[in-house]
Symmetry: C2
């Protein structure tokens, strides 16, 4: 099994866009800075969507510019389409990610594009990236969303996901990730789908899982991904965001619990868990009353626990 | 990986002894009956401890007698010592389990017995079992508690656990289980410790894990146990009990989430999840206001989900 893992913190994007209130730009900056100081090396800092649709993300350009000043931090932004990608490239993001829903019904409902239209959009973005001068091309990734099932269509056939992953690669993306948008995934499914997609597009072209904890299986699914060589896991501080379906049910897997599990297992995350736990205070202060999840923050660290760094 | 798993429901014992209120005997019976009707094949129904210490368990003899009338149900009781074992045998339990704390400090604090005194007690019970007429000997198991760490001593050395597991087997028990009493376990530790204990006492002598979800790793630890051939997992409906350390942090792993995970993976639990989810109503009605945990109950089953039985 792997000895180190990258945790990609998605709270400032995925988390905040699920919160109705708009977090103050300065609070976002403080949060991102504190995450980086705790050792988080990759952060999805915002989304280049129209501010009318998501006012929470209106300051993404400023946030990207700030995050870029933090040495060693990989700055990621979500882009919904070519227009968003143009803005992301202009801001100099290190990495951009577009969600591509494996459920065509979900794709049409969500972004009013069927699968061929999404592939065309992805190709247009990949072409735009390729046209950039060397050294200014962001890493362009597709997140295969609803890959583990859809709340409208139900199960999505594995073959469909494999075919669409291949189509995305052919359109020119650097790699694909698998997203459990609906919290439907189970460990056996993670194992099976990761193997199938890797077999189709190359084992180095699927490195990231975006898992939810909607039904409590988030960390069990991480275990299945680790065994298949997945090296990057998305998560959010306090489990913020990820469209929780019900009170008490967090959406995104909780960064604090994920870091605790990995470090306790001897897998290096580069993150200082004690420092990470303190970062919650920033979010709690900026969004008073917003529920923050996490078992490890509630229970505290085991007596005698030492992270990798310690 | 295994194709079927036994879930040992510990709510009526481990759950109820953590609740200050005493659940009415009739409610306990209704709960146990409904669990069995949902397909639960093994239930820890009570504990033969002095009623002065745990009034919640005062009706254990009556509960055992009732549970014994349910066809096909394995009726388990906890016994703290020889006296409890005498009562359990008199009641005709199918299986009895004694907790044996791997942390000697915890053992002394909890039951005022050091390790040699506990081994002597276990031997006295094993001898008593052996003296029973054939067909009336309950299956006698030791639960190696605090095996993954202790809140007083911190980490417990693996070698100590292996040595005490061997001593318990020599004292005459049928098998040992490993208990994460403190919620300290991580998947790598589960793998390592299960392997070491199996290597020492025989791979068929360790079949049960009692895991907690205190730090959110319960189901990830189940995954590690499954990979090592563990075939029985303790859990409690609604995560009741298991000494939760903090609000929101369940102690025992939640039966509903465990069943969802296993059935979704194609591992047969024999349990009908839809029926199981309805059993919560009985507990909620008998213990109004008592927090019941579980992600799957909050989020609901995925669209198109079919259990093994369906």
């Amino acid at each position: 099994m792997t000895t180190s893992v990258t945790i990609s913190e998605v709270g400032p994007r995925d988390g905040l866009q699920s919160v109705d209130r708009v977090m103050a730009t300065e609070a976002k900056k403080a949060w991102i800075k504190a995450l980086a100081e705790a050792g988080v090396s990759e952060i999805e800092v915002g989304s280049f969507v129209p501010p009318k649709l998501l006012p929470q993300m209106a300051d993404t350009a400023e946030i990207v510019a700030f995050a870029k000043t933090i040495p060693g931090l990989d700055v990621v932004a979500l882009v919904p389409n070519l227009k968003g990608a143009e803005r992301a490239i202009a801001c100099g993001v290190d990495k951009m990610s577009i969600p591509f829903s494996m459920s065509e019904t979900h794709s049409i409902n969500n972004v009013r594009k069927d699968h061929p239209a999404m592939i065309a959009e992805i190709k247009a973005i990949a072409d735009l990236v390729a046209q950039q001068p060397e050294g200014q091309r962001p890493y362009f990734e597709v997140g295969l969303s609803t890959a583990f099932g859809c709340t409208i269509e139900g199960p999505v056939p594995d073959d469909q996901i494999v075919r669409l992953a291949e189509a995305a690669m052919e359109a020119g993306v650097a790699e694909v990730g698998l997203s459990d948008t609906t919290g439907y995934a189970n460990p056996a499914q993670v194992t099976r789908l990761v193997r199938k997609v890797k077999a189709a597009i190359g084992s180095d072209k699927l490195n990231t899982l975006h898992l939810h904890n909607t039904r409590g299986l988030g960390l069990a699914n991480v275990m299945a991904g680790l065994a298949e060589g997945i090296s990057t896991f998305d998560s959010s501080l306090g489990g913020l965001g990820g469209c929780p379906f019900a009170p008490g049910a967090s959406g995104n897997i909780v960064t604090e619990d994920l870091v605790f599990m990995l470090e306790a297992m001897g897998i290096d995350t580069g993150i200082d868990l004690t420092k990470l736990l303190k970062v919650r205070d920033i979010v709690a202060e900026a969004l008073p009353g917003e529920p923050l999840y996490g078992f490890t923050p509630d229970a505290g660290l085991p007596l005698g626990f030492k992270g990798i760094a310690a």
